[in-house]
C-alpha cells in the first residue's frame, strides 16, 4: 500500500475519484456508505480515498453512533486551499492543452 498521510491537497485532488468524493462532501457531510453509493468504486476504496483527503487536510471525520461521518474540513485555510487547488488544477490542464496545440509550422 502507499503512504497516504503525506499527500498534499494538490496530489489528493489529482485523482478523479477523490475529486468526486470531495465535491460530494462539499454539498454536505456524509457517512462512507452513502458516499460509496453512486460511485463506481467499493466501500473500502472510498475509505482509502477518504484517508488521503483527510491526510491532505481537506476533510475531517467524526463518529456518530455506528457511523463515521465525513465532512469538508471546516477551517477556512483548508477550504481556501482546496478551492484554489481545484482552480489551478483546471487552469494548468487548460493551459497544457492550449500550449501543446500544433502551430502552423508543425506537422
Amino acid at each position: 500500500m502507499q503512504a497516504y498521510a503525506t499527500a498534499t491537497p494538490w496530489e489528493a485532488l489529482g485523482d478523479p475519484t477523490r475529486r468526486a468524493i470531495f465535491e460530494r462532501l462539499v454539498e454536505g457531510p456524509s457517512p462512507v456508505n452513502d458516499l460509496a453509493r453512486g460511485l463506481p468504486v467499493s466501500r473500502p476504496a472510498v475509505s482509502q480515498h477518504l484517508k488521503v483527503l483527510k491526510g491532505a487536510g481537506l476533510v475531517v471525520d467524526r463518529q456518530a453512533g455506528r457511523h463515521r461521518i465525513y465532512a469538508v474540513d471546516p477551517t477556512g485555510l483548508a477550504q481556501l486551499r482546496g478551492e484554489l487547488e481545484l482552480f489551478w488544477s483546471k487552469t494548468l490542464a487548460a493551459y497544457k492543452a492550449i500550449v501543446e496545440q500544433p502551430t502552423e509550422e508543425d506537422e
Binding site: 498534499t8 454536505g28 477556512g76 485555510l77 481545484l86 483546471k90 494548468l92 492550449i98
Partner: protein, 160 residues
C-alpha cells in the same frame, strides 16, 4: 515524491511539450483561454480576460456589458522565465481592495529541453486572507456560498 506541506502556500506544476518562449507567451497572452470561464465575479458573462504583459499591469475580466473586474496586479514580468501577480480576491470571492490582505502567485518556466518546459506555480501568503475565514465558514453553510460555487465548478469537470 513526498512534498512538505506548507499550509499557507499551494504548489502546482505541469510539464508541457513546448519551447520555453512559447510556454511563457501562451500563459500570459492566452490567459483569457486558460482561466476557467466559470470563475466569474461579474454579474454578467465574461467577454474576455485581459492580462497586461508588464510589471504594474492589471489582470481583469471584462463582461459582455463592458463592466470590469480587476482581480490581479502584475508584480513581475520577466519573459521567458517568470511572472508574478497578486491575487486580489477575498475568500468570499469579492474584490479585495486592501493589498495587505492579498496573496500572490508566482509562475516559473524552466526549460527541460528545446521543446519541453516545466511550469511551476506557487500561490503563497494565503494566510494574508485570514480575516475572511470566519465568514467564509458561514458562507459554506449557506446555499448560495461556496458549495454552490464548487457545484458549478464540479459540473465542468466531466469524468473522462
Amino acid at each position: 515524491m513526498s512534498t512538505q506541506t506548507e499550509p499557507t502556500a499551494i504548489h502546482a506544476q505541469i510539464v508541457v511539450e513546448a519551447p520555453i518562449e512559447r510556454a511563457f507567451r501562451v500563459f500570459t497572452e492566452d490567459f483569457d483561454r486558460i482561466k476557467p470561464r466559470e470563475h466569474n465575479m461579474l454579474g454578467v458573462e465574461i467577454a474576455e480576460t485581459v492580462f497586461e504583459p508588464r510589471a504594474g499591469g492589471r489582470v481583469f475580466d471584462r463582461g459582455v456589458d463592458g463592466s470590469e473586474f480587476q482581480w490581479a496586479r502584475v508584480l513581475a514580468f520577466e519573459p521567458p522565465d517568470r511572472v508574478v501577480f497578486s491575487w486580489d480576491i477575498s475568500p468570499q470571492w469579492q474584490i479585495e481592495s486592501d493589498e495587505a490582505k492579498t496573496s500572490e502567485v508566482e509562475v516559473r518556466f524552466i526549460a527541460e529541453g528545446p521543446e519541453r518546459t516545466r511550469v511551476e506555480l506557487e500561490h503563497r501568503h494565503l494566510d494574508r486572507h485570514g480575516e475572511g475565514w470566519p465568514s467564509m465558514r458561514d458562507a459554506v453553510d449557506s446555499e448560495g456560498g461556496w458549495p454552490l460555487y464548487l457545484q458549478r465548478y464540479a459540473g465542468v469537470i466531466t469524468p473522462a
